[in-house]
Amino acid sequence: MSSVWNWIAIPRHGWQFAVFLCGALVIGCAVLMLLTSTPPRYRKTIVAAVTFLAGLYYALEFLIPPALWPLKPPRNPLSEVQPLVATLTQIIWSFALLLGVWNLFLIHGRAVAKHGRGWYNSAAFFISFFAILGAGLLKDYAKNAGLSKASESIFTVLFSGFLTSLDATMFSLIAFYIVSAAYRAFRVKSLEAALMMAAAAIIMLALVPVGAEITNWLPQAGLLSALRVERIGYWLLTSPNMAAQRAIAFGIAVGSLAMGLRIWLSLERGNFFDRQL
């Protein structure tokens, strides 16, 4: 089975690429026409069947280990096609990205056309979009070596010089926001807030050398060593904190399983899941 999938998934060039592209377009249009011409009451059934089959693939791939498949040598054939499934998902995502870019063009295009407040920000979007697009394409596809090198330099300036630095700037802002958030969170207004404040203070002290210095007079071993700041800090992190985090994680896991199950079996109700297709 994997050899068939591999044959389909091999990158194509030249006339083969054109044939596969046309074939994909024809099949895509046929499926779309078939869905459109299907009576509305059957459309949901088709969508439910496709959802079930897609979910079944992942369920079987995970739940059945290679030893249980009647194959020699033991292997799970569904795992072998996983890269192809991942590629298909990526292709769908890429198509959707075009829709996202289209939305950006619409919003910023209207802003520039209307010359409204802050229209120059929208103009900056177009300039930066086409600058990095042009530099990226020329870097990879320019036949002229000099042009390709120049484009690479421009691309590096735009990507590493601008984008990465701006990303890092936004990330570094978190340090300042943590201070203002911590100020609000640690105001002692109730017993719970006081407990949190005390726990936070102990953990902060446990993480710095001066904290260990405060209780350095206590022995390193024995019953009293449990009262050393670094030990209390470690205990707070690994026992009460870890227990709470795991409890939340268990709840999230069960919740996501339930929601996944409802979507897989088309049992999800309410909001847009009930709409007529």
Binding site: P65, L163, I252, V254, G255, N271, F272
Partner: protein, 270 residues
């Protein structure tokens, strides 16, 4: 990762079968008309308050689904978005939805359009209010911060998967004086939202949102099934803790050794 570890172990089969059984059983019994109780979740009740505040102030609502894609977290976020947009559409309040995932963007646009149609005011839907900003984490975050300040939103709702940008958004929401409600399954971001938001939905409450807001019997049944599933997990944890503690106290009891060996076999330490 070893070859064996990427597949389910017998313990996973047993536990997942039990969870699936309880969830489906309760869904079916709820569909047969059995009344089920669901406790009050303040964060979800606050959604109506957030819509009301924005309406009174004549300012828009911001609904940010985080960096979620079209997965369980993203779909749950869309279910909440649908509820919020319907409520807001009733009162003519704008809901701005900035997105980081292009696939989820297409879904969000449909969800918002459907919600306006369902309320009988399709003409109020503004396609520009559902915006794809960027798929880069901090580019998206700076875009959302810009919207928070420029639009001076009255309510900011953060429902979805968040990473480090959670605090940036929530603190900027504080700065513009917005009422903020957050819900995320990302355990590392919950403390940040707790510190900066007015209401925070923690852990599996996030997945209870659609049941809580719609009161659909199927979803309520699923929620009760989840609780029974959690009891199964609690039972396994208690059994393991008691068995290993007892074995440590009485190391020579044969059946205790067998029990702990069986537990270790099916639930190996990772």
């Amino acid at each position: 990762m070893s070859q064996a570890s990427q597949y389910a172990s017998p313990a996973v089969w047993i536990v997942e079968s039990l969870l699936v059984f309880f969830i489906l059983w309760k869904i079916l019994s709820a569909r047969r008309g059995r009344e089920l109780f669901i406790r009050r979740i303040p964060g979800l009740s606050a959604l109506d308050e957030a819509v009301g505040r924005a309406t009174e102030m004549g300012k828009p609502i911001l609904f940010a689904p985080g960096l979620s894609g079209l997965d369980i977290v993203g779909l749950q976020s869309m279910a909440i978005l649908s509820h919020v947009v319907r409520k807001a559409a009733r009162y003519g309040t704008r809901v701005i939805v900035p997105l980081a995932d292009p696939v989820l963007y297409t879904v969000a646009e449909e969800v918002a359009k459907d919600a306006y149609n369902a309320e009988g005011v399709p003409e109020r839907f503004n396609p520009e209010d559902v915006r794809f900003l960027s798929d880069r984490q901090f580019a998206w975050a700076s875009g959302v911060v810009g919207i928070l300040h420029r639009e001076k939103v009255a309510s900011a709702l953060y429902f979805g998967y968040y990473f480090a940008e959670s605090l940036i958004l929530a603190e900027n929401g504080q700065m513009v004086g917005a009422i903020q409600v957050a819900g995320t399954p990302a355990t590392t971001q919950i403390p940040f939202f707790l510190a900066s938001c007015d209401y925070t939905i923690i852990g599996d409450e996030y997945y209870a949102a659609s049941a809580y807001l719609s009161r659909e019997p199927t979803l309520l049944g699923s929620l009760v099934g989840q609780d029974l599933g959690k009891l199964v997990i609690i039972g396994i944890i208690v059994l393991g803790a008691v068995a290993f503690t007892a074995q440590a106290l009485c190391p020579n009891v044969g059946w205790l050794c067998d029990l702990t060996a069986t537990i270790t076999k099916y639930f190996p330490r990772s």
